[in-house]
Symmetry: C2
Subunit: 454 residues, 2 copies
Amino acid sequence: MMTEKYAEMLELLQNKRYSELMRQMDTLNPIHCAEFFEELERPQQIMVFRMLKKDMSAEIFAELSQETMENIIRSVSDNELSAIIEELFVDDAVDMLEELPAGMVKRILKTVKPETRATINRFLSYPEGSAGSIMTAEFIDFRRNMTVSQAIAHIKKTGDDKETVYVGYITDEKRILQGSIRIEKLLFSEGDTLLSDIMNTDFVCAGTHDDEESVADTISKYDLPALPVVDAEGRLVGIVTVDDAIDVIEEKNTEDMEMMAAMTPTDKPYLKTGVLSTFVKRIPWLLLLMVTSTFTGRIISGFESALSAFPVLIAFIPMLMGTGGNSGGQSSVAVIRGLALDEIRPADVFCVVIKESGVAILCGAALAVCNLLKIMLIDNLIFHMNVGTVAAVVISLTLFTTVLVSKLVGGALPILAKVTGLDPAVMASPFITTIVDAVSLLLYFGFAQAILIK
Amino acid sequence: MMTEKYAEMLELLQNKRYSELMRQMDTLNPIHCAEFFEELERPQQIMVFRMLKKDMSAEIFAELSQETMENIIRSVSDNELSAIIEELFVDDAVDMLEELPAGMVKRILKTVKPETRATINRFLSYPEGSAGSIMTAEFIDFRRNMTVSQAIAHIKKTGDDKETVYVGYITDEKRILQGSIRIEKLLFSEGDTLLSDIMNTDFVCAGTHDDEESVADTISKYDLPALPVVDAEGRLVGIVTVDDAIDVIEEKNTEDMEMMAAMTPTDKPYLKTGVLSTFVKRIPWLLLLMVTSTFTGRIISGFESALSAFPVLIAFIPMLMGTGGNSGGQSSVAVIRGLALDEIRPADVFCVVIKESGVAILCGAALAVCNLLKIMLIDNLIFHMNVGTVAAVVISLTLFTTVLVSKLVGGALPILAKVTGLDPAVMASPFITTIVDAVSLLLYFGFAQAILIK
């Protein structure tokens, strides 16, 4: 749908019908305008960008890809650049600066006003992943003795430069946060009501050093348009808006999934990450897991004589290890996710163990019975593998106990990780599998020696 | 922090200081009030609920747990029940009805007004997971010939019953959606401006049968407070607000993780799901994967003679299969996530294959070299496993090719799934592992026969 529109606009540009092009861009939202920019050649990008009205150009600029941003920054004058940066919300400016090459950052910080530079530098100093690092300084600020009419007039006057007008914050003369008020509350109240009489004093807020994920969870839990962020003295220094919270949630989920699959999390999109940096994120875990699987190899070597007496047992090693890994992986991911969504707390560890035991007994029994039938009816009758009845029982018994152990380990380890301050997501399938592989082999050979070989 | 507050409020209740309790609850937001309710005994819940002001009681009711809702519904009169339901937003009412026992649903639908019943029934009829199933009917509705002052007056008059006042929609006499307007635009415009002159006509909207996940993605992409939903004729029938979008995003992520770990997704929290229903979600996949691992067993059986000639090869089977599974799992999860975030499109399949090949060659080479060194320096020198040089080369060669194949299969299968309409998340570690297990064994024994045994 938009593709046709962009083609039409490109034609206007090529036919030099600039005023018609500007008229069309005026009706588009900034995201679509930015998408149109990505379709243009580099010189065209500069030309069109220069035609834009000032307020529009900053809005669109914030939505551009890094390449296009760099192209524009390289081509505009210091004055033009300063004007763009001054118009950006400080969180967008900071996000941009974190990605740009050092030379450009230097030039930008040199061209902007000293106040802006101070604010940007303060925001850049918050640790990555903290509330401070994702907040913005542009919020609506009220005083408690304002009336509703004054507050609305204040929004009309200053709101255009704020990241959101849906909620304003009441601070005292020391900038200590006193309360919040939503715009609908202002609209539904009489004009002469004092803000102190209607402001919400049961508000939630975050500290600048709080984890960005807990900020996002709070915004989601309380359905807030924005969450205020205060410094150690309780002074309001910024807000995090709901759209930034969504980005944090998606990033956190990506990170969790990457960790679950034994990768070091990256914050770049898949196709924008180079082969080398992807390699660096993946190889340490593969090496670690390869080395730990040495134990599994040692266990097998230790039982070589048992295996040469009953070579048919070898054929079931992959099935036992695989089922153990899958069973443990199911439990660990269910618990990791429950912890992430705050549905499970460390104190629930006994509920988790009891539940996983129940599920494991059912799963283990079902799998053991099916496996016994499969060996008798398929492996022996169709494939003539000649697995003896006692050997089949050993295999099914191992299967049952492996599932039991896997599900308990899978359910308990993420909680243990949480308690010890590790990220539970590390305790997912690859890690669990390595433990379960060793356990299942020990059980297998233990049962084999006790029952088969004696 | 809130725990102390709730204890204090509980004391007020026990000392029968009801008006003070109500005063305190009045200053709390509905989420905290609902949390307080969960701390109360059942008869206390009813008592406190009856004391609440009508508008407050509906707001709190929507936030209660299902058990508490059921307790209250059982205890109130038909009139009281009808009043609560009429005050609820229709999406909250529908969510609640979907969870309640059939008898209660019947009673509720009997007590509400016929119009409300019709609306609820219409909303209940939208397929699960569709935009219609998560939207709400309470939105701000403007006409194009309204002035800004009229629009603001309209919000003041009707906004209190709307799910959001941050954006309003302009429809014509046939209720066809014409444009949208944010409240800040109204505040920043002159009172006599016509809405038709300032409304946003480059709006995005969803159809009632669109997937709820694409609705959430659109809200996130365009940073919207709400997304309008239209029927097949383009008539505006509801909106989905950003807080509902966050819930959809979290649910979708949970589902993806569950599928990646070979579980059928569930929409209930971990601790609220019974042992039996958890078993039912997990066992089909474990059975399926167990049966498919029969192939792996068959491959091993087929090479029994090679293994008895070189029994040392057996000890490396778990390491080879494990590393293959982990390598493939990394690639598949990276691609699954890229697809979910729309960072990778099916057309990018060649970029993915090229990138994964590059990463695989680097990872495979690094692992192969480390493995060779490990066998020579640790396994042979320390553990005296006596792995011959040629056998060590066979193992490392298998490792390299297994990593290559795993990463290609892991990268390509999720895209193939997407193209054929399957959920890419199914193609995660457990599924990939099963394929890679078989491939790695075939490669292993192939190389062993070609190089070692000849």
